[in-house]
Every structure is written in C-alpha cells, then in structure tokens.
Symmetry: C2
Subunit: 258 residues, 2 copies
C-alpha cells in the first residue's frame, strides 16, 4: 500500500500514474488518495506509522512544508528546501522524508532534450514546488535564475537562500516580464483553475523560448496555450511527475534504483 496526502485531493493525478506504473510492471501494490486537512496531519501520520502494510506516501499541497518537521527524519535536500514530497515508512514505523520535485522537474527537461546547464531561466513562484525547482536548477548549473512572485518579498527571500547555497550563481528576484531568458517556468498553481491569472506577461514570450509548466491538470494550461500561440516550444507539467515516479518508487523500496 502506498498513498498520496493532499487537501483537496480531487485534482490529484498521482494515483492513476502510479497504479498504471505498478500494473505495467506486475507489481502487487496500489497507491490511493488520502485527503487530510492541515489540522489533522499530525494525527494522520501517527495513524500511518501504525499501518504495517504501508510502504510510503507522496505528499502534495498543502502538506509539503509541514512534512519536514513532522517526519522522523528528513533528507538534506528536504531540509535545504524546507519541504518534502515523498515519505518512506520503514518497518519500525519511522517516517523518512525527502523531496523530488526539483530533481524530477530537471530530469523531465533533460529527458525531453532541454538541458538547462548554462541557460537563462525565469521562473514564477516562490512556494514549495518553485523552491525545489530553484535549488535543482542551481544544482544543474543554469547560467542565470530570475524568480518572480506576486508577493515580491518571497521571491527576494528565495533568491537569497539559493545564492547562499550557490554563491557563484547569478540569481535574483525579477518582474513578470520574462524577456531576456531562454526558459520560462510556471512554478505556481496558476492555471489549475479556470480564470486564473497567467503567471507571466504573455506579450514577453518569444519563439526561441521554452515554456514549461508544473500544473498537470489541465494538460494544456492557459500559459501553454499562449506560449504555443506565440511560437514557443512547450513542456507539460506531467513530465515532472513521470520522472519522479522512478525516483519515488526507488526511495520507497518498490524497485531498486536503476
């Protein structure tokens, strides 16, 4: 048994993706959705510690940040980012948390032929997913990283945190206009709901840009539609999840890491 923790859980696609992955490999396992409000998370985790047929679980909004403190152990990556999206349940009931959002996103870019090393990257968002991606892009050796957030102070703070860990990287908070960058990333939840604002000014999109999403549903967000209309290459949110499956499965002991 595996699970995904979210609130709300309706929009979550992880069970379908994991269960197809299990079925294709004839693995006798299932991943199910667990909806739990923030106030109930600690109690739920005590319950999952007691569940001896649970191998681990995926964690998504709004629980990624709280999970670092509530787990019995958190990886260096999870501590650096301050968020976790994967938890392994050891046989003694201990919960070990780590974060694959950033590593999965970068692996998705690479598996689709988009090497980020040396590229100028603009990213919207300074929340949990965006933070993980920022650190993974820094680790991947991007040439410049500009972070835009509606609450500008959060972008400034994230840029400072990344700079502290990667002092030679040119990283700064920036405006909603991604001009002068090679890769444009939506690292916010904007696009999940009809009528959401666009995460960047679409007038600034140029045909030589790659526009990448973290939002998985709808498959083609308003941002990706605008990018296509302006001649950009696009990169769907699902790729980050696809690449994370391997990483998460190995971490939770489902299959040895290849």
């Amino acid at each position: 048994m595996f699970a995904i923790l979210a609130d709300p859980v309706d929009h979550v696609r992880t069970p379908g993706v994991f269960n197809a992955w299990f079925a294709a490999r004839r693995i006798d396992a299932v991943l199910v959705p667990i909806e739990v409000p923030p106030a109930g998370l600690a109690a739920l985790l005590d319950g999952l510690r007691a569940m001896t047929n649970l191998g681990g679980f995926v964690v998504t909004m709004p629980h990624k940040t709280a999970m670092v403190g509530l787990a019995d152990e958190a990886s260096r990556t999870a501590q650096l980012i301050g968020a976790a999206n994967t938890v392994r349940r050891d046989r003694d009931g201990r919960l070990i948390a780590t974060m694959f959002d950033g590593e999965g996103f970068v692996a998705g870019l690479r598996s689709h032929g988009h090497e980020p090393r040396g590229r100028r990257v603009w990213m919207a968002g300074a929340g949990g997913v965006a933070c993980a991606i920022a650190f993974a892009l820094a680790e991947a050796g991007v040439g410049r990283l500009t972070i835009h957030n509606r609450t500008a102070a959060k972008a400034v703070e994230l840029a400072a945190r990344v700079r502290a860990a990667y002092p030679t990287l040119e990283v700064a908070a920036g405006s909603a206009h991604p001009g002068g960058h090679d890769i444009v990333i939506n690292g916010t939840a904007l696009g999940l709901h009809d009528g959401d604002a666009l995460p960047c000014d679409p007038a600034a999109l140029r045909p030589d840009m790659l526009v990448a999403e973290v939002v998985m549903q709808p498959e083609t967000t308003a941002l990706l539609a605008a990018a296509t209309a302006r001649g950009c290459r696009i990169h769907h949110g699902i790729h980050m999840l696809d690449e994370q499956i391997r990483l998460m499965a190995a971490f939770m002991g489902i299959e040895p890491r290849a």
Copy 2:
C-alpha cells in the same frame, strides 16, 4: 475511499469482493487493506478520523472487540455482541460502529433456501463471529441453539448471554458431537490453515444436516469436504460476506438501503 482493518491482512478477501461490487455498479470508490497491530489501533483510528475522503471501513480479526470501545458510537447490536465489524466515518470525523456478521450470516442462509426459524442449530465457537451469529440466530427464531467451544467456559458464558436476551430460547453449551441438530455451523477460524483440527466430530454428520462455514479461504474447508463426503448439504463461508456487502455499503452511505 473505504478500507478493511486486519492483522495480518494477507488472507482477507474483502477488498476484491467490494471492489468488484463497486465496479459492477460504476461507483467511483475503492476499498483497500490496512494492516495494523492491536497496539497501533487507537493511533490508526485517530488518523482515519482526520482522513476526510474516508467513508468508512470494515473491521476483522483481531480488532472487532476493541472497536466497540474505540469508536465514538456503537449500535445496540454491537454493544449486545461486544464486537463491531463495520464503521462509518461521519463528515465530522466521528466513527460509528456496528456489527453485520450475524445478520449477514442469517441472510446468507435464507438467500440459499435455508430458513433457520424453528431449526435445531449446533455451532462451534464462542469468539466474535460465533457470538454475532448466535445472537442473530436467536433473533431469527431458531428452535434450539447448542454452542460448542474448545474452552467450554466460553461456550457456557455465551449461552448465558444469549439466554439473558432471549429467555424463551432453548440455548446451552454442548459437546463436539452435533447429533440431533439440523444445522451445523463452524463459527471458528478452524479450517483457515492446513492441518487445523475439525471444529466438530465428522462421524456425527448425517445426510439430512446442513453444514455451514464462516471460513472463506479455502473455499472448501476440510469440514465442508467431510460434510460432502457424508452426504450433507453445505453452505460456504463466502455467502456471509456476500450478504454483508449490501448491509455494509448501505451503512457506510455508499448506496441507499434497498
């Protein structure tokens, strides 16, 4: 989301039965196995109270007795029997427990043409399932009820409890020889494992007897094989579960009770 709580959980057939039932009715729900040791049950229940997409769960060995005290509310039937096998999670997180083992077993007999009213019934066992069946048989108006248990004191005690609730019923503890009865019931777990002792003396089985099981796996237990060899009609353990599905589903709010 629905679940079954057990320890161990490997032999449990409830998920397959419920999930086929959901699929046949195009109900977007799934029932999954949760393995939890007795020491972890209270913590697990606090976790399930926090799980807002959980509709309820089935409870089986070894948790049926503890569930009556740990639930927020228990039905009159569950309190009388001292055990529960079905728990509904209300929207406010309260857990409401009841017991359908007995009602399901009697409904299974009836749906296969075996009306217990007025019949002389011999039953092995005085544990949770046997207790539920004893009260349901009493409620169904059997003519006589004889209860046999390897620890005889438990049979004497159960007979006294049934007699207290149904003072006009002829109910007593008895030997391993079911002679003089119309219906022979195994209400123990004997037969689940290879090499288990038979729950009654097979030499006492007569062709006019009905021999009924609560053990579901293997489908044909050693008792049912012995009964067939001696010309008895037999009644499989799965029928009790089949009939309970309707009752449990209605109680957990999956479908209105027909």
